[in-house]
Point group: C2
Chain length 123, copies 2
Amino acid sequence: MAGNFEDIAKQFVTFYYSQFDQDRKALSALYRDGSMLTFESSAVLGVNSIVEKLSGLPFEKVKHQVATLDAQPSVNGGVLVLVTGQLLVDEEQRPMNYTQTFHLVAEGGSYYVFNDIFKLVYG
Amino acid sequence: MAGNFEDIAKQFVTFYYSQFDQDRKALSALYRDGSMLTFESSAVLGVNSIVEKLSGLPFEKVKHQVATLDAQPSVNGGVLVLVTGQLLVDEEQRPMNYTQTFHLVAEGGSYYVFNDIFKLVYG
């Protein structure tokens, strides 16, 4: 169980949702051409399509609240992250539960998102 | 987006939960010494520790019901899977929501579970 994968996961998740809630177009820095996003079972490939997808989501204000975060070292020095949390959009008062998994791949001294799957959870 | 990763994911998930609900010790065939399981934030490494962990869970009867399944091709021909669902244990009448992510790694013509993270979702 390699050293600091948990720190990497925590730093990434904090940064990701902070950026998402502030200006989700800027998330482009975290994806590459081989990255894939599946958002509510709709899949897109590559940084441009991913940012287009995220930018086009039908809300303006959004606030993620992470409830749990688990991480594991993955193959080739990567990190796998599973998040559960709640999000509020626009003027909606009831938070929605969601789960999201990220597969972070090492690149130089840093990481980018190779796999990203987001799913709302209905109880 | 490689060919049949969705079929692989569906076949795997069907087999995994069927086996889990019937005889979870037999899941040993799906893990290797480098595999990792994080079950409710408790992490174990290697097939023996994983099977010990699963066998020791405090319920006898369990029934998983998959609600959603999303898959993506991962690095090195692997497959990343995100499941949401509900489970019932023993005589409990209220199902619990859960989410689980599997990272399947190619081995010969088949796959094994390299990463496995399970988490209950409270709404």
